[in-house]
């Protein structure tokens, strides 16, 4: 603080608190809504304080009883989301780190070509090429499978780029020393490069986990079998029930459950999250 101005400081805190409240308010309402019985919501206006149906609503959302709301049990959908998010995060990191290693530490014919092919994917989000990508996955028989959910999303230029930038900052002396000691390429990768990349891998993992968990369009297209529904798309199925009022108390309970894992990751690993966010956007 430059100067002591109590009023300005007070205003600062008020604005920040208003911001925090504006950010949290929708979640609070969703939580409140998820603790009422079904007829507590359809009649009139939503109360602002939680009701007494917390255990009943969350219990029925998690373990079944949502068929009326148009989706499989939330626990199953959360498991699917978890598998998909982990597969995307781990898969992306694994294939990116080895390809970046090859591009930085080897000289081979078509190295630049490989680099540019990978680089091009930076420009093509799945939303703009959905129809042809869907056809490819359908032809490969990967609809309604975990492979179909995860693999088309694991190629990423961003991660390769990030690792390449990082590898370029590793001092050459390390490699010289390793070679004097007789280490080969794989040995150097596992004993030197990988341990040095630990924070980068962790930061990237946080971002990619959130990215994978929050996928919406892709699971919507490739799953028709309820047992492969992910939670984020399952909510849409519950909102879009034909010919009846949506079961808002269960939808809100599901929405809260869908938020918990990624929000927990952001808050618990805040520093890695910020690092990952800043570095992937460079």
């Amino acid at each position: 603080m430059i100067e002591n101005r109590p009023i300005v400081t007070l205003v600062t805190h008020i604005v920040l608190l208003l911001g925090v409240a504006a950010v949290a308010f929708p979640i609070w309402l969703a939580f409140v809504a998820s603790t009422y019985p079904v007829d507590g919501l359809v009649s009139g206006v939503l109360p602002l304080w939680p009701g007494d149906q917390f255990w009943i609503n969350y219990g029925s959302a998690l373990t079944g009883g949502v068929e009326a709301a148009g989706s499989p049990p939330v626990l199953l959908m959360m498991m699917n989301s978890l598998v998909m998010a982990l597969a995307i995060a781990v898969g992306k990191i694994a294939i990116s780190i080895i390809s970046a290693y090859a591009i930085v530490y080897f000289s081979f014919p078509f190295r630049a070509t490989a680099f540019w092919i990978i680089f091009m994917t930076l420009m093509l989000p799945v939303e703009v090429r959905i129809l042809p990508t869907y056809e490819v996955v359908a032809n490969l028989g990967m609809l309604d499978s975990y492979a179909g959910l995860a693999i088309p999303l694991i190629a990423s230029a961003t991660a390769t780029f990030l690792f390449r930038q990082f590898f370029l900052t590793i001092p050459d002396e390390l490699l010289e020393a390793a070679r004097v000691d007789g280490a080969g390429a794989l040995r150097f990768f596992f004993d030197v490069v990988l341990p040095l990349s630990r924070t980068n891998v962790a930061a990237l993992f946080v971002i990619l986990f959130i990215y994978g968990w929050n996928q919406y369009l892709w699971p919507l297209l490739v799953t028709t079998d309820e047992s492969y529904y992910t939670i984020v798309m399952g909510i849409q199925r519950m909102v879009a029930v034909p010919d009846s009022e949506p079961l808002w108390h269960l939808i809100m309970a599901t929405a809260i459950l869908a938020m918990i894992p990624p929000v927990f990751v952001v808050i618990a690993m805040q520093r890695l999250f910020v690092k990952g966010l800043v570095e992937t956007e460079k």
């Binding site: 969703a30 919501l41 290693y101 490819v136 929050n214």
Partner: protein, 294 residues
């Protein structure tokens, strides 16, 4: 292309290392993208029995189609709304958070977590809050004399998706604005304070101009976000309605391709979207090159 001074010799190993990524890239990115390019110049009959090469007819049809032009307009309004709202809110909050000494970390934590909420979930939350029959905000607005109904009014629906999309994006912008402000040397601000400039004057004459690289970067990122990552918000709530009032471009590609089964038209739309992404990426990279000098 930059390279190491010391490298490994290897004939086979490097190919094995790049192969997984290359295969995924070729199968799921390059091939579908080229398919989209190819289909965009074909016309297929309704039963998929015959196709005809039609040059740029699909594109001509698109730009003669009022609903496509309307979708373009909707997207522009939507992304302007999202970018303006989320950037201004984030800038104000970041300027405040940059000032506080006590509790700065707590505020930061409490402001960044909406980043982790899926767009579709954010959409459903606001959809619920503004629900004309049971929503709290709809009720409050009725008390104020405004009859909110996003099922009937196109502008209400547009405001709803803009709010939902901005709510989620504020945290991202906030983080980058705050980082930008904290990178400004304190001595500049202290010097201005000694010269008698108050907090507001300091913000507009020192902090805001020095933030311009961050602001420009966020501008591009927010436009990309509004164009391409908001599909979930629209699909889970308004589905482009009422009367196409929220039919943004990414939603229309999906709708025409998967629901309308107009392959050529949808492919042509994909190609246009790709061109937009490429243009935005180029703009962003240009900017990064300049940032190095700054």
């Amino acid at each position: 292309m930059q390279h190491k001074r010391v490298i490994f010799q290897g004939r086979v190993l490097p190919y094995f290392l790049v192969l997984p990524q290359l295969i995924v890239t070729l199968v799921f990115f390059i091939w579908p993208a080229s398919q989209a390019l190819y289909q965009s110049v074909l016309l297929e009959d309704a039963f998929g029995l015959s196709t005809e090469f039609v040059w740029f007819e699909n594109f001509e049809d698109l730009f003669a189609d009022p609903s496509y032009l309307n979708s373009f307009k909707t997207t522009v309004v939507f992304s302007l709304g999202v970018t303006t709202l989320s950037m201004i809110a984030a800038l104000v909050l970041a300027a405040m958070a940059d000032r506080v000494v006590r509790g700065a970390t707590a505020y930061k934590t409490l402001l960044i977590w909406p980043y982790a909420v899926a767009p579709a979930v954010a959409g459903v939350l606001w959809w619920f809050i503004f629900n004309p029959t049971i929503g709290v905000f709809a009720y409050a607005l009725r008390q104020l004399g405004y009859d909110w109904n996003h099922f009937l009014s196109g502008s209400d629906a547009m405001i709803l998706v803009i709010i939902a999309a901005s709510w989620k994006q504020v945290s991202y912008n906030f983080l980058f604005f705050l980082a930008g402000m904290q990178a400004i040397p304190k001595s500049l601000i202290e010097a201005a304070a000694i010269d008698g400039a108050g907090p507001v004057k300091r913000f507009w004459t020192i902090i805001f101009p020095l933030l311009s690289p961050t602001t420009f970067f966020l501008l591009v990122v927010n436009v990309v976000y509004a164009f391409f990552e908001t599909f979930g918000i629209v699909h889970a709530t308004t589905s482009g309605g009422p009367a196409q009032a929220t039919n943004i471009l990414v939603f229309k590609v999906y709708n025409d391709g998967f629901i309308g089964l107009d392959l050529g038209g949808s492919a042509a739309q994909s190609v246009i979207l790709m061109l937009i992404v490429i243009a935005l990426t180029v703009v962003q990279f240009r900017y990064i090159e300049r940032k190095v000098q700054y």
